[in-house]
Amino acid sequence: MSARDSILARIRKVNASGGDEEGRRQAVSARLSGSPRGIMPKRGQLADTERRELFQAMAQTFGATIAEVGDYADVAGAVSTYLREHNLPASIRIGDDARLKNAGWDGERTLDVLHGASDGNDLVAVSHALAGIAETGTVALPSGADNPTTLNFLPDHHIVVVKAADIEGDLESIWDRLRGALGKGQMPRALNLVTGPSRSGDIEQKILLGAHGPRALHLIIVD
């Protein structure tokens, strides 16, 4: 017998001992198709304005910085401001996300905008989030050509653009969005839920920012 078959046989011997195999199968398919939500914390269940405020407050608690702009055309300006404030060279890397195409880059003449995945030589990357999660101040970043996963981890500074209307209360709402876009049971190759810049507490349990991932996480919220 293969390892697979003997493992499954051992489990089945215990689990099927009740005799109601049809009931067990139904329970599993009901759960997989129904995806019950469980206990939803009140914290994230807020009206639009409060939800956005909570998102900002939580993200800041976990070490992110925030800028707010009124329009996508203002994003490039906000990026340049960030670079200047942090004495960073005027160079960023972005993916193919359509929303970032018209972010006002033309207005920033000196800014060098590189495209595609990172090879580890970029100091700053800009991504667009699928959504924000107010409950924990998290941004959700699916993989793909629009927003390559390497941009989330290799650069020292990660700037994430999130649309105010995409700020959800909870992680469960992200699943609804993904199912709406990809279909039930489907996921992007990678989904990164990012909450603050990278950190480590491995030396004497003191939390230090900037472990292996970005040292800084900057969020730009577009109205």
């Binding site: 089945r12 689990n15 939803m40 996963t149 996921m187 839920l193 990278s198 507490g201 003191k206 970005p214």
Partner: protein, 482 residues
């Protein structure tokens, strides 16, 4: 690692005398306990979610065969490959085979306890593949040739001076005069050294916090970002996970994630929670070209249906060891097993047998703090007691303890005899206690009096005095006679 749990007492003795270790262990309380409490208090639904998380895992375990099959189907649909391994040996061989096919000389590793459990690093090294641990704590202990002393904080037994000296010993290509006195400098050096490695290895190995039947995804939860670099930059991503990591749906991970980071580090959410589903897709500019899952049993399926089944709900947050007075006193290495602390005291005998590991479930005061903080509501003390029962049934309990117990039970089961013995013995012991009412040493009580005095009995037993009081109530004239 070699199992040395039978020498727990000896290890513990050494640990108690190790000033360096004792200083480091102070960080367990400072770093984890208060933070967990604050994070839990800040979420009013925390306890309700604990109940729900327990129910989710119970449901999953009761249908584990079906969920594993559903999961396998989804992984395959996404272009991934599922390998099943009965035991450590099979799992190691599968991983080595993947490495050989990829033609790699090194592999990067995200932090994973399961690869510790199967002894993967030594095996790969013996077979010509160099494993590189990329989590800062794991990297440090790999430099030292040690094993993790804690399941989420592998280097918690070390102080920064020790890390500094290891970095100086190993990173000889760097300026000798550099300042490494601050933890931030150590972190930055590790970042710099490891950054190179991510691009060198063709294979990246991670564990998994969850496997999701609904989507065929594996999930890792980290703070450093090393796990993500490990799996994103490699050509081949290998997930090694034991079968009880299964949950049915994405929603179920959302529930348990609300408990995991809060219980582990007191964070609302760890920095990086990553859901991985299959290899690079058409049009993807990055990500691994192959995605493998090694599904490991290694004793889990045999725990189903036994009194240890509930242990399979464990999400490896480490809260039980953080709150354990024994762990806090001796640290994780004393346990002589991959998994230390209360969860290890239950799991290790399940994985390795009670013969060599009997000390672990005995080394508990049953204070119950582990169960009180366990996010998955695992009754750890109860299961440790079950291991003591198995030991006792099989006559593995040390002979002196067994005879002592039987001697005591003989009297405990015979109240009359007990009263007579006590009415002679106790007043005599009281007199021996002298004017200071205490013993500094007593034969047969050396375990007690080595470190503390034994308060002497007050005098006659309560039963003696009570009977006299009742007799006087019945017949008050006796009082004058007495």
């Amino acid at each position: 690692m070699e199992l040395t749990s039978d020498r727990f007492k000896e290890h513990a003795q050494k640990a108690l005398l190790d000033a360096q270790l004792q200083r480091a262990l102070g960080n367990v309380e400072k770093g984890f306990i208060g933070k967990r409490q604050m994070a839990a208090d800040a979420l009013p639904e925390f306890d309700a979610i604990r109940d729900n998380a327990r129910d989710i895992k119970n449901h999953t375990l009761a249908h584990l065969d079906l969920y594993l099959e559903a999961y396998e189907k989804k992984v395959t649909e996404a272009g991934g490959i599922v390998h099943w391994a009965e035991n450590a040996e099979q799992a190691r061989a599968i991983v080595l085979d993947i490495c050989r096919k990829a033609g790699t000389r090194t592999v990067n590793k995200g932090k994973s306890m399961i690869t510790e459990e199967i002894g993967l690093n030594d095996y790969l090294a013996e077979n010509g593949v160099t494993p590189v641990e990329t989590d800062l704590g794991e990297y440090i202990i790999q430099l030292r040739g040690e094993h993790p002393s804690h399941i989420i904080a592998p280097a918690v037994h070390l102080n920064k001076e020790q890390v500094e000296s290891d970095f100086r010993r190993v990173h000889t290509h760097l300026e000798a005069a550099r300042d490494l006195s601050e933890p931030a400098a150590l972190l930055s050096e590790a970042r710099q050294v490891l950054r190179q490695k991510y691009f060198e290895a063709k294979v990246g190995i991670t564990g998994a916090n969850f496997l999701i039947a609904e989507t065929g995804s594996s999930v890792i939860v980290t703070n450093e970002g090393n796990g993500d670099l490990t799996q994103t930059l490699a050509d081949v991503h290998v997930v090694v996970a034991s079968i009880e990591k299964m949950v049915p749906t994405l929603e179920d991970t959302a529930q348990i994630l609300r408990l995991l980071a809060r219980s582990a580090t007191g964070q609302d959410m760890s920095c990086y929670t990553t859901y991985s589903t299959g290899p690079r897709r058409k049009g993807d500019p990055d990500g691994p070209k192959e995605y493998h899952v090694v599904l490991l049993d290694n004793g889990r399926s045999s725990m189903l249906g036994t009194e240890y089944q509930e242990m399979l709900r464990c999400i490896r947050c480490g809260a039980c060891m953080n709150h354990c007075p024994v762990y806090q006193s001796v640290g994780g290495h004393a346990y002589g097993s991959v998994y230390p602390g209360p969860m290890g005291a239950v799991l290790t005998p399940s994985l390795n047998g009670i013969e060599k590991t009997g000390q672990l479930p005995n080394a508990s005061t049953f204070c119950g703090r582990c169960e009180a903080v366990c996010p998955m509501r695992i009754p750890l003390p109860k299961m440790m007691r079950h291991w003591r029962e198995r030991e006792f049934e099989r006559h593995l309990t040390p002979t002196t303890a067994r005879y002592g117990l039987k001697f005591w039970a003989f009297f405990a089961k015979r109240p009359k005899l007990y009263r007579i013995a006590a009415s002679f013995g106790i007043p005599a012991l009281s007199v021996l206690g002298g004017t200071k009412h205490r013993f500094r040493s007593l034969p047969f009580a050396g375990g007690w009096t080595r470190h503390r005095d034994l308060p002497a009995p007050q005098g006659r037993t309560f039963q003696q005095q009570w009977q006299q009081r009742e007799a006087l109530k019945q017949n008050p004239s006796q009082e004058r006679a007495a």
